[in-house]
Symmetry: C2
Subunit: 129 residues, 2 copies
DNA sequence: TTAAAATCAGTAATCGTTACTGTTTTATTA
DNA sequence: TAATAAAACAGTAACGATTACTGATTTTAA
């Protein structure tokens, strides 16, 4: 299966590159439709999955039942607002030692960890006040 | 809305208390059916959600699209086998400092974190060899 | 024992995602 | 440039986990 070029895939990737808010497939879909009015949701899903498998984008799961996608594939942590569901990047160093620490007391091979933080984002705190 | 006693709910909780492997709703369903052959899957879901909301059990999400449930509500970490999907408890101390570290560089309030580890469990390693 | 409310079983609906199908694009080779 | 094979497409159907609905049954308290 050789990869062929596709304008739809380009457009999906181009859109993702403009966003830092980790959009869902649905959001990618509604936005890419501005350039490709006939694009199908299935095409969006297929290409997001393909790009993620190729390592060109990252797939994010933060427990709300919806997959999100990130143009920034460098390892970093995320924050999820419990109020509005927004997902934001965190500027903090990677905790590689976590994986080691977990391995100490475990029979089997630990290869990595998934972590996200939750709480209330700035905007939601101000709304409540 | 006052809570009323229900034998089905008792049975669900009793089953969960016997298991350390974080069963899914489907697994709870097939097992509780041995005592309640007519119990409905909806009843299982409703009661699992209710018990989780009451804090009597914990709901677990490890990114495989299926909710799991844990009778042990004390905070602890989990391991997920990438091969067979098994979810196991990890005997390691809580990393409370993670939440602090994340808060340092973030405008908003961080209240906690979700972490799980992945890799290959003992059984799957032995199968491969 | 009765009556109101919670819970139930059974089933339909929802939602995110994946799979299918016949058509269109892309890339290659002539 | 034209012909061809394979990849990708649009549109739609199917899927799996979960939730919502409905009329019947249990529970609890009076």
């Amino acid at each position: 299966m050789n990869l062929k070029h596709s304008r739809q895939r380009d457009s999906i990737k181009a859109f993702l590159s403009t966003r830092k808010d980790h959009p869902t497939a649905e959001i990618v879909y509604t936005n890419v439709r501005q350039s490709f009015p006939n694009i199908s949701l299935g095409t969006v899903y297929r290409n997001l999955t393909l790009l993620a498998d190729l390592g060109e984008i990252a797939r994010l799961r933060v427990g709300d039942g919806v997959d999100r996608f990130d143009y920034d594939t460098s390892p970093h942590y995320h924050f999820v607002c419990s109020e509005c569901g927004r997902v934001m990047d965190l500027e903090m160093p990677l905790m590689e030692h976590l994986t080691e620490a977990a391995g100490k007391s475990f029979e089997g091979k630990i290869e990595g960890h998934v972590t996200y933080f939750y709480g209330h984002c700035n905007k939601c705190i101000q709304k409540i006040i």
